[in-house]
């Protein structure tokens, strides 16, 4: 994995039929390998920004550059981001009918056309790093929330993305175990991946983020550090 800088320019997004844009001319840069956080009240456009970065929403204007790759606004541009940018969903969205290992090798095998044996070796190494070595053959239903989150991270990392996005990573966790997320973020950072975390938990964010962006009604209002 090679971390890449993420540069967003003039990003504007409007939901169909909505009067005001969800994102209004948003621009920022996250250096390669850094950990950035996006904070803001609910409805401020945080999740839409994340979904634009992951290629799940189609922005009306603006560009998203991941390293040397630039995705223009529009449907085809958005599609080029998928697989390049990993996303850890708030609800994880693990595939319930597949084991942990199968969750992690599905995309490498079907999208990257990597041989199964090779994909499994790589996935087991990832699971090992995230402390899930003994869960490889379990189905997601048998895992705790924290374990599911780490599987979702391993699944995304298996595609060797240049950048990994997290949507509210602490929301589905027991308050006492929120600290564990910090360890996971540190582990991923050590692997050399640019990370962007969307969260309303500013205290948590303050402890780990290199950069904090604040969104307010679709506009980036401040870049404190």
């Amino acid at each position: 994995m090679t971390a890449a800088a993420v540069t967003v320019t003039g990003l504007t997004h409007r939901h169909r039929g909505a009067a005001a844009p969800t994102l209004d001319d948003v621009a920022f840069t996250v250096p390669a390998g850094a950990l950035a956080a996006v904070v803001g009240a609910s409805g401020s456009g945080k999740t839409t920004l994340l979904r634009c970065l992951a290629g799940l929403e189609v922005p009306a204007r603006g560009t998203i550059a991941i390293g040397a790759h630039t995705a223009a606004a529009g449907r085809s541009g958005a599609a080029t981001l998928r697989g390049r940018v990993g996303l850890v969903f708030q609800t994880f969205e693990l595939f319930p009918h597949l084991t942990v290992l199968e969750n992690c090798v599905l995309a490498p095998i079907t999208v990257r056309r990597i041989a199964r044996a090779e994909a499994e070796t790589a996935a087991r190494a990832l699971l090992d790093r995230l402390g899930l070595a003994d869960k490889a053959d379990a189905h997601p239903q048998r895992l705790s929330g924290g374990q599911c989150q780490r599987v979702a991270i391993a699944r995304a990392l298996a595609m060797a993305p240049a950048c990994l996005l997290y949507d509210e990573p602490t929301s589905a966790l027991d308050p006492a175990r929120k600290g564990e997320v910090l360890d996971v973020l540190a582990t991923v950072r050590a692997g050399g991946v640019t990370q962007i975390v969307v969260s309303h938990d500013e205290a948590l964010v303050a402890r780990v983020a290199d950069h904090v962006f604040r969104l307010d009604a679709g506009r980036l209002t401040a870049e404190p550090r």
Binding site: L56, E93, F95, A107, T110, R142
Partner: protein, 509 residues
């Protein structure tokens, strides 16, 4: 024509363009295909209660003798009685010979030969019923059973009776009279003799109730065939073979004697065939005896019916499943015009009776030059119909998978098709299996509709046998066992598949 060509292997162009000579074709083929309904029962065409693998009846003997006169063999073709003229027009057989009443309105759709039999109408009542109607004048306002579309029905309606018609066999008509559900039955004398008067508690009343003449129906415009059959009937009447045949069946009567111009006095010959019928079915056999003597002999027939039911259901399902998948995917993921088309198909097919669809395919398409084989038409009608039901099952399965699963697949770089195959599909299938199993079992049962298009599947086998053996309960239980024997293994397999696909849902033990 273009349609027939496009139909390729499974469609054959309509067989007999007008002007072609049916007689020449029959003689070239060496067989006379004659249409009849074995469910019509004794003494016309029915399965021998002592050996149900054989069709017997006075019309079987008549057809054999007529075919011999034409220099060919007779081959019976099963067809639903009230559809015989439609099937004849479609070319499913060369002639229809099964108690077809001479009536002017039939001449618009078929030619009729000279009559071969005259049947007086006979009223049957319960012996112990003091108030029973005994004349035509008495039936006004009384419940009287008969066959639908028969002359007897028209006579009864004219007389102001409260007419009850039965689509099943003749046996039910008299069973209802015995049970007191009707006050009388008016039917042709042969039916009355074989199904009514065989019951000691019932009494047949001869009287002036009218009479019907039976003739053979030939396709419109086939004058040569009609003339050849007329001549053959004349020969059989003249040399006494026809009379001997009727006497064997106990059917010789003054009306027929007058029709055939045979004024010789009665020969006093024993009606062996009628006696054999009385012996075979006069009194219901004890269950044990039926199990030991009768039922083993019907097994090959049921087996044949079951195989046809199974083959039809499998072919139909093999069509319904992939078509259903395509329809469900188009309806859920297709672009707007395609989505509307899929929805329109589903709503049209679900909203119209399967019966109508089958009749349209079988009797309607020939108008466009596409004549389908009965099995193909049956499987196609069932398959196209069930595809709509399957599509809705699969759509429900697809809807049950949260949209996040598709987005997670996309964000990993999977295409929509890859996501459907590896992520959405497997989860949707598990949800769709129970309703799809239900549908398959419903399809097994709905396949009985194909008896309309000349196929003798399991239900038709039962109806024919029940009427020929006068045994509805025992044979009914037997046919139920056959349906269960087909359906239960499938339910079991479906439950196993569902459990296998749902392994991940089991919680840690």
């Amino acid at each position: 024509m273009a349609l027939a060509l496009a139909g390729g292997a499974w469609a054959t162009a309509a067989e007999s363009p007008p002007g072609d000579d049916a007689l020449a074709r029959i003689q070239a083929a060496g067989e006379l295909r004659w249409g009849a309904d074995a469910q019509g029962g004794a003494p016309y065409v029915f399965q021998d209660p002592m050996d149900p693998n054989h069709l017997i009846g006075f019309e079987v003997e008549l057809a054999t003798a007529l075919a011999a006169e034409l220099g060919v063999k007779a081959r019976p073709v099963q067809g639903q009685w009230d559809m015989l003229l439609d099937l004849l027009g479609r070319g499913d057989f060369d002639v229809a010979l099964n108690g077809i009443e001479v009536a002017d309105e039939k001449l618009r759709v078929a030619g009729l030969t000279r009559p071969y039999y005259v049947a007086p109408e006979r009223l049957t009542i319960r012996r112990d019923d003091a108030n029973a109607p005994r004349t035509l004048a008495d039936v006004r306002g009384r419940a009287v059973g008969t066959l639908p579309g028969s002359l007897a029905e028209r006579i009864l309606r004219r007389a102001g009776a409260e007419v009850r018609t039965y689509d099943g066999g003749q046996n039910e008509i008299y069973a209802d009279l015995l049970l007191g559900r009707t006050d009388a039955v008016l039917l042709d004398a042969p039916i009355s003799l074989y199904y009514g008067e065989i019951e000691p508690a019932l009494e047949g009343i001869a009287g002036d109730f009218g009479e019907v003449r039976y003739a053979i129906a030939v396709p419109l415009g086939e004058q040569r065939l009609q003339a050849a059959l007329d001549a053959a009937i004349g020969t059989l009447a003249a040399d006494g073979r026809l009379r001997a045949l009727y006497e064997r069946w106990g059917l010789w009567n003054p009306e027929t004697a007058a029709l055939l111009g045979d004024t010789r006095p009665g020969s006093g010959a024993v009606a062996e065939a009628l006696e054999a019928w009385r012996t075979a079915v006069g009194k219901p056999l004890p269950l044990l005896e039926r199990l030991r003597d009768r039922y083993p002999r019907v097994l090959p027939l049921f087996l044949r019916g079951a195989l046809l039911t199974l083959a039809l259901s499998f072919v139909a399902m093999a069509l319904a499943v992939p078509l259903g998948v395509v329809l469900a995917l188009l309806r859920k993921y297709g672009a707007a015009p395609v989505r509307w088309l899929a929805t329109a198909y589903i709503e049209f097919v679900r909203g119209t009776p399967l019966l109508v669809q089958l009749i349209m395919l079988y009797f309607g398409l020939p108008e466009l030059g596409v004549t389908l084989d009965p099995f193909v038409a049956g499987a196609l009608a069932l398959g196209l119909n069930y595809a709509a039901a399957e599509a809705e099952n699969y759509r429900a399965g697809l809807e049950s998978v949260p949209v996040g699963q598709l987005e997670a697949s996309w964000s990993l770089g999977l295409s929509t098709l890859q996501a459907l195959r590896h992520v959405i599909g497997p989860q949707a299938v598990r949800v769709a299996i129970p309703p799809a199993t239900n549908d398959f079992i419903a399809l097994l049962k709905d396949s009985s509709l194909v008896s309309l298009v000349t196929l003798t599947e399991l239900t038709k086998t039962y109806l024919n046998l029940a009427n020929a053996m006068r045994d509805h309960l025992g044979l009914g239980l037997l046919v139920a066992l056959w349906y269960l024997a087909i359906g239960l293994p499938f339910s079991w397999l479906a439950r196993r598949a569902e459990a296998r696909l749902g392994r991940h849902l089991r919680t840690a033990g």
